[in-house]
Assembly symmetry: C2
Homo-oligomer: 193 residues x 2
Amino acid sequence: MKLLEDRIRKDGIIAEGGVLKVDCFLNHLMDVKLFHEMGMEFKRLFKDKPINKILTIEASGIGIACVVAECFDVPVLFAKKSQSINLSGEVYSTKVQSFTHKRVYDVVVSKKFIGPEDHVLIIDDFLANGCALQGLIQLVQEAGATVEGIGICVEKGFQDGGRIIRETGIQLESLAIVDAMDPATGEITFREQ
Amino acid sequence: MKLLEDRIRKDGIIAEGGVLKVDCFLNHLMDVKLFHEMGMEFKRLFKDKPINKILTIEASGIGIACVVAECFDVPVLFAKKSQSINLSGEVYSTKVQSFTHKRVYDVVVSKKFIGPEDHVLIIDDFLANGCALQGLIQLVQEAGATVEGIGICVEKGFQDGGRIIRETGIQLESLAIVDAMDPATGEITFREQ
């Protein structure tokens, strides 16, 4: 998606340790106009799928998921990173390793809100090693629901997550795939799509 | 807001310990159509304010804030509950006690994204004792920005947060104020507004 690639080139910052910072429009300050454009693009990419629910994971996926959900006219379910007293009752649960925070989270969704009748589009802001996505896919499958597709804003193509998930046959669409970043020059190479 | 009050009466669950569960449409499964209606109502309530940014706190405020932000045509900044490696650099920071999780969080926003030029509407899903809101107000003031108002979906009128914040003179609008809940009968009493 050229609009997103241009924005990443303009405002993205290549930080140490293979980190691409897009916190000025994607995951701290959030440009909801851009989110709407991304939502319309996901709607185009998944137009043939009978999606009735969007699943994401807290925290930075939630905003994008909600704006995308308006384009699909469906509700959003967000997976929580630890069980709180407001989530009593039965949950589906999995463990996710966070690249960013260097720790393992319990990730849960209430069994009340996902089941075999659901056709789910998973939305997240970033895809790197894919641990969070694998966890979300597992939650959907545990619920007996169907993963109709996965929509990602920014994929790091030089990490393994995207390849591994595409090999499972799930339709994974990343609006921008960064194949290389040069911290010295600031140059970012996007995959042709 | 009658639409929200009716929904709380229909789908809200009064749980032990003074907890009102609205996780089937507000803060786990999220009804983005309802969020849009709430956004339009906030737009009406704050129509005279020169709002150029919405501030919320992760996680459950983010979805509502983003949909509301579309109605105001402004970006969203969300305060993060702990400092991650993606948030390097200077931050404004405060501590917030969570009623739900019974712990104290560090809450931060990047100094890059808020400053004296900002006129901020704070949005959150719930207001009970007001600790999270007090923290957000403090962050805005520390940045030299202006709190133009606070928009809340559900306020627990039988806790102190709303009264304390209104006494500071800030325009606080809660779309539903629960003055009493009876766990035995399931009856919920809303404040007339």
